[in-house]
Symmetry: C2
Subunit: 318 residues, 2 copies
């Protein structure tokens, strides 16, 4: 058996794992990122994490073949460079070579959402599908594209920015500066904004009973209001699902993947979200669902998707 280390670099923690060639996690740990330190220190800690994980997993050094890192930001994965990360405030950091200096192993780096997409494809929800698109609904809309089991990253890994596909020209302002991006309608942030807007416009709405404080509205508020029978809440949820379906159907028509994998907190709604979303997406599939259907499924690996995918990325490049 061959093993790979997968690291998921975040603003708060670096999560790491030893993953076998089939995608099983053998050992797992995390360390604080300490993101305000010089990058060389962080890289050294990441290398040390790999060594301690290998020990924890009880594998010989010779069995560990490569290290993969999922990092936020724009990554030049060919050269293992963090071109720009807003999250960790890095610019042109040669992370792969920094870590390689500490380990006698090849190190690969990709974007964290890409890593999660590859993880779900290799060992998670999309395991049985050759091609899948991972869409995570969080602060923004992130994602990754897997074609025939491999990440598609675009030129200089700058593609797969699926959150920044405009679905509503002239619509809501996105953090990227464009108006009407998928992210501005389908992220958890957008759902919260849509819920707050409905509450402001309708002081009589039962949504106020669910959450009396506008500032405390979250991605669950509208769903809870809907379950309590509130009409405005139903409208918010229906509109959110329609926007989400619009973007997913676009991706389906462009890529015609075998499956779309959804991640993010809102997926905890389960079938309440998924069933109407499937229906709305399928209505929008070019040529219908008969010839080349697209499965809509929920992510399985949770927080482990990134490290499993990072390990797989390293495995594919080793």
């Amino acid at each position: 058996m061959q093993y790979y280390a997968g690291l998921d670099l975040g603003g708060t923690f670096v999560k790491g794992g030893i993953v076998d060639e089939k995608g099983n996690i053998i050992a797992k740990d995390k360390i604080p990122t300490g993101k305000d330190r010089p990058y060389a220190e962080i890289a050294r800690d990441m290398a040390a994490l790999v060594k301690s994980l290998a020990k924890k997993a009880g594998i010989a050094e010779s069995e560990l073949k490569a290290v993969g890192v999922g990092s936020p930001g724009t990554i030049d994965s060919k050269n293992g460079v963090i071109v720009y990360s807003n999250n960790i405030r890095w610019e042109n950091v040669p992370l792969a070579s920094e870590i390689e200096r500490e380990l006698s192993l090849p190190v690969s780096v990709t974007n964290d959402a890409n890593a999660a997409a590859l993880g779900e494809s290799f060992a998670g929800a999309a395991k049985k599908y050759p091609s899948s698109i991972f869409v995570t609904l969080g602060t923004g809309v992130g994602g990754g594209i897997v074609i025939d089991g491999k990440l598609f990253e675009g030129n200089r890994s700058a593609g797969a920015e699926i959150g920044h596909m405009v679905i509503h020209t002239g619509g809501a302002l996105c953090t990227c500066g464009r108006e009407g991006c998928f992210e501005a309608y389908a992220s958890a942030t957008a759902l919260i904004r849509q819920t707050q807007e409905a509450m402001r416009a309708h002081p009589e709405s039962g949504l106020w009973k669910i959450c009396p404080d506008l500032e405390k509205v979250d991605g669950k508020t509208a769903f809870d209001g809907m379950r309590a029978g509130d009409e405005r809440a139903k409208e918010v949820v229906a509109a959110y699902i329609a926007y989400l379906a619009e973007g997913l159907a676009n991706l389906a028509n462009i890529f015609r993947p075998d499956a779309i994998v959804l991640g993010g907190g809102v997926c905890a709604e389960g079938d309440t979200l998924l069933l109407p979303l499937k229906e709305e997406m399928n209505k929008r599939l070019y040529g219908g669902t008969g010839y080349a259907p697209v499965e809509l499924i929920v992510a399985k690996l949770g927080n482990d998707a990134g490290l499993v995918g990072a390990a797989r990325f390293a495995q594919q490049r080793a």
Copy 2:
């Protein structure tokens, strides 16, 4: 040198060519499709066209390695089957095996817009770029996606429907049934509709001098009006370019190709279209143009793109 036959199946003509392994056309000809005849007859004529082209090119039968066909409609390219073509009214026609029956050569089939994309990539405007997206602005918006020199077709070749990406939720009705598709805003048909709408709303507009008959408005009318200094015409052109830029920027953010190749009659406008379009597209590129710019160029091969691409498709599968 090795040679391939490329056929471009249309509703009126089948255009064919013998193309060498570098993408040069050695001989070219066309025959009427006679599209209302049984498909076996059409396939037989296509095989005969290949034989006569080989003679015309003066190449030995042994030098002709494979045949590629670009066909309208949904194509199962793995099996060489026309799943559905509205244009030729075919359903589940096993075109590759029908032609193979007449020739002792392997036959491959792909969608005609895909073939054109591959042709422009292999031997046309995008020759120097590994990855490009071909977008043709005609009755609809067709296109094809080339990644590292190869067509990306999606599951069962049902992807790459870039015209059916919604850019304006709830907007203009598309022929596909969705509202707000890229095609409904950026096709030549859409430009004509937008011009007619402006004329109806503004009886005083100078557009009426360019074209006194609403029914005769074409893709050039608004551009001609703009050149004549008409304000309404300027607005129509600016809005059309903004919509076109919105869709192209979406594709750029999703695929981050090296280049986008534009085809269709409206490209005859040259820099009048291209310069403002580049500016509008670049404004919308995620992360800007510094790190991974996307070139915007005009198709070069014209009507030959399809047959050159079909030949290349056959070459890659041979």
